[in-house]
Symmetry: C2
Subunit: 188 residues, 2 copies
């Protein structure tokens, strides 16, 4: 056997969480890999909202998903998710850090990341998943990692389960995953 | 979907790592639940070595696995694993802490735990798994947790992958898993 790496594990959770017809968010469209994957999972009866603040990322994602008509590309900060998405979603995914192959000085930052995560948690339907892949090797990365970890550790266990999945004996701060599942409210 | 809890996830890794005919170690037999599970996975052509320093645990495990003839119960410290096991194993499992329903003052301790883990890593065949379920809520538990984590974090990434899996927003220090996979040596 081989222990599943972080990105395949993240994808396998998305496969379990997202069904045909679902609405989902890619909070960091980047080069569009996750947007494409999500678009396949939701199918044309679902919808993918993909955010990025960089025109370059929106362009790259656009070319990758041009075959799909159920992807809405939004060239704006993910801190404004709730301006664009109002109905429940089954999943949201974040890849923190910089745009691969892009300008490494443009990075996600704790405050807007956490604002965006809060909005996603609000939008999640019961048993929905918020997945955050945390990269911290770049400058400013460890501050963001610490802020995000502090935030998720304090999410009330009555409402959320917060799982950490990652390899801990590797140099160069490899990415790790934080997965937040919204619990189904008990009817009293 | 629902995120898999720590114990079911641990079991699913064992199911993937252990095949019929394999040799495996239960380093903390306790009430024999893992020993029983492992005995099913290896089948009668395999072998399970189950260690516990407490007579009470050996007794409890004995009654649980009496249907199996390929389980060797060893009433000794797991720090002496290499006195009893000399051929390669495909998996070893530890549940740290005290014996459930037993004397809560008798607990696993960092030094013998790490000695035992070292011996298991030595015995593991390539792609074999060492699984350590860490409980730290009891007195002395956090010291052991910290020592084990320090040890596994420094395992060389050329030889091992070390995965941490656990829920991080819960009170009462719930158990979490550390899974160590031995890498296949590259032939130069």
């Amino acid at each position: 056997m081989s222990l599943q790496r972080v990105l395949p594990f993240t994808k396998s959770l998305l496969e379990q969480a997202v069904a045909n017809g679902d609405r989902v968010i890619d909070a960091t469209a980047g080069n569009g890999h996750d947007t494409f994957f999500l678009a396949q999972l939701t199918g044309p009866t679902g919808k993918v909202f993909a955010f990025d603040i960089q025109q370059e990322a929106i362009q790259a994602t656009k070319s990758r998903v041009e075959a799909f008509h159920h992807v809405q590309l939004i060239h704006d900060s993910h801190a404004k998710i709730s301006d664009y998405v109002v109905s429940p979603i089954s999943a949201a995914v974040f890849n923190l850090g910089y745009l691969p192959k892009g300008d490494h000085s443009i990075i996600t930052k704790s405050q807007s990341t956490i604002t965006a995560m809060e909005q996603c948690l609000e939008l999640l339907q019961p048993n929905g998943l918020l997945l955050v892949v945390i990269y911290s090797g770049h400058e400013g990365g460890s501050e963001e990692r610490d802020a995000v970890m502090e935030y998720v550790r304090t999410l009330p266990q009555t409402d959320f389960d917060v799982l950490q999945y990652g390899f801990i004996n590797q140099r160069h701060s490899p990415p790790f995953l934080v997965a937040v599942e919204k619990k189904r409210k008990k009817v009293l």
